[in-house]
């Protein structure tokens, strides 16, 4: 220790005068301060898988909702001479994309066999009625994504409100509201949906209603649990002491603090809803023909899967990609919002 000692004299120090001192702000934080959302966004951007999922979803949204602008044949138009044509992408000569298909162990060119003119091609082939599968898959994707948007709307509009009310008011109201949820929870979701669909005519509307009826419960429970915790915190007490109305507290103080839970749960509600729609379509109570959802396309394709595998592969692939993307994005958002919990 003694070796390190150095003798200082008064000359070694400069006294700062008042002017210099005011320029020097030692309280200043050099980095710009980030809001909660900016910070989360920064973390999310580092997550490559989540960003890929996000980009994929944006592409799917744009493609499916903008499909009317593309030079495509309508999803329900039947080329009666061109049934069951395999995928053909001009300029690509890979088996599976060049219009050839295995028939009885031999690879034949179905386009030549059916005398299809060389300027006619179908990117993902045609189905048993000669409808362009690419256009139908885009249409089906649009239905699946519509369901996603609707399910998330009801999650927000009903689940969040129910949860906040139940948690905020507490007491007997809370008990009754929770008993209702408990009863609803012990009824399998699917049974509710099926009953609903059996009673109403099949179509998009009853599916949306059925999903609206069942999708909000989980959200309500999570939001309630979080509200119960938040309402004991000081900032809520402060807001109350200042005389804020309950309504304003819910909007200005609770909602921003609940936002991460809500967004994360939303990301997991969506694949669930999309799965249910596909499932209902699969068992035959989905959107009626000629409309198509990914579920009906898979179910139609499954019948010929052994001989015309592309008819099931592509819609199934798109469905899996959508589900994967939402799941991965959900995982990424969870990590981004709450880096401590790696659930």
């Amino acid at each position: 220790m003694a070796d390190n000692s150095k003798q200082f004299s008064a000359d070694d120090f400069d006294l700062l005068n008042q002017n210099d001192r005011s320029k020097l702000d030692d309280e200043k934080i050099a980095a710009p301060s980030l809001t909660f959302l900016q910070d989360s966004w920064r973390r999310l951007r580092k997550n490559k898988a989540a960003m890929i999922a996000l980009v994929l979803l944006v592409i799917l949204f744009v493609l499916s909702f903008g499909s009317g602008l593309l030079p495509l044949s309508p999803y329900n138009y039947q080329y009666s001479n061109y049934t069951n044509l395999p995928p053909k992408i001009p300029g690509i000569d890979i088996n599976g994309f060049n219009g050839t298909i295995m028939q009885g162990g031999v690879r034949v060119n179905a386009y030549v066999q059916n005398h299809v003119p060389s300027n006619v091609y179908f990117l993902l082939g045609t189905d048993g009625l000669g409808r362009d599968l690419f256009a139908r898959i885009l249409y089906g994707t649009r239905i699946s994504l519509t369901i996603a948007v609707v399910a998330s709307f009801f999650d927000l509009a009903f689940g969040v409100v129910y949860g906040i009310i139940s948690g905020w008011i507490g007491g007997r109201t809370d008990t009754i509201m929770q008993r209702i949820i408990e009863i609803l929870l012990s009824i399998p979701n699917l049974v509710v949906m099926i009953l609903f669909l059996v009673v109403l005519k099949p179509g998009l509307l009853p599916i949306i209603l059925a999903i609206a009826l069942t999708s909000w419960i989980n959200m309500a429970r999570l939001v309630r649990a979080e509200t119960l915790e938040l309402k004991e915190q000081e900032f809520v007490l402060a807001a109350r002491t200042l005389g804020e109305s309950s309504f304003k507290i819910a909007f200005k103080h609770l909602l921003p603090n609940l936002s991460s839970i809500i967004i994360i749960n939303l990301m997991f509600t969506i694949p669930g809803a999309i799965f249910f729609e596909a499932f209902l379509a699969w068992i035959g109570i989905g959107v009626p023909s000629p409309a198509a959802s990914l579920g009906t396309l898979i179910s139609d394709g499954q019948k010929n899967f052994q001989f015309l595998p592309y008819q099931m592969w592509y819609p199934a692939l798109v469905l899996v990609i959508i589900m994967l993307a939402f799941n991965i994005l959900g995982d990424g958002l969870r990590d981004a919002f709450d880096p401590r919990s790696r659930r």
Partner: protein, 308 residues
Amino acid sequence: MVKYLAKRIFYIILTLFIVATVTFFLMKIMPGTPFANQQKLPPAQQAQLAAQYGLNKPVWEQYLLYLVGLLHGNFGVSYQFSNQPVSYLIGSRIWVSIQLGAEAMVVGVLLGLIIGAIGAIRAGSWVDTSATIVSILGVSIPSFVLAVLLQVYIGLDTRILPIAGWGGFEYTILPMLALAAQPLAETARFMRTEMVDVLNSDYIELAKAKGLSKYGVIYHHALRNSLIPIVTIVGPLAVNIMTGSMVVENIFSIPGIGDQFVKSIMTNDYPTIMGLTIVYCLMLCVVLLITDILYGIIDPRIRITDSK
């Protein structure tokens, strides 16, 4: 404990009552008639049919009769299979579904636990990454797609396993795999996070500091403590398997209640739909009750006797 059980059973009965009531009235407001080609029948025969099925009585009386019947385990008579009681229809099929569901549950949860635990122990390695990929894929691939793929690419192409029907154990393997994928993925995800948390906790540090072997730390301390929260996801997994069983049984032509449910929907066989709805609810309630009781037994910190 007894008080808790009584309360839970009361709620189960209340739930079933509400479900029975709602389904009954939903079925009553349905348009159409259960009898095929009713327009072609003379009015006298129509009246006779209605009388045979009790459809000529006022709705409230039908409802009361239905409830009384339910108490006796009588779900009415199927419209689809003439004069077969629904309870017989369900009774002859339910054990097939329970066997398949239980197999899928056991296999899915066990494999999920192993995959999740390995992922957590080797967190960050390629093993962990591939375990995560498997579990995300498992959650994202719908059971009906997986079932068809298994059926064609494993059953049909290799011809090792039967592709449809119901016989010995080998008939259950493919459908069981299709059903088990989702529980497996969910369990693996859940187990991994739980175990990573546990492995970072102080008592694991202590166990390591005591000089326990790696195996000892993992087996005696980490594994047991991560298992507790897994019990909570058994209920949702059971729902998952029930949902999956409807399509999987249909694809593999297995004579279970899931297959029957889908067929009854197709043929508008209302008494069977109602009966199966109630049976599904009952099964879910029982699974939830068992898991709650198990939770209390496994984790003594949770006292069931104290009502929440």
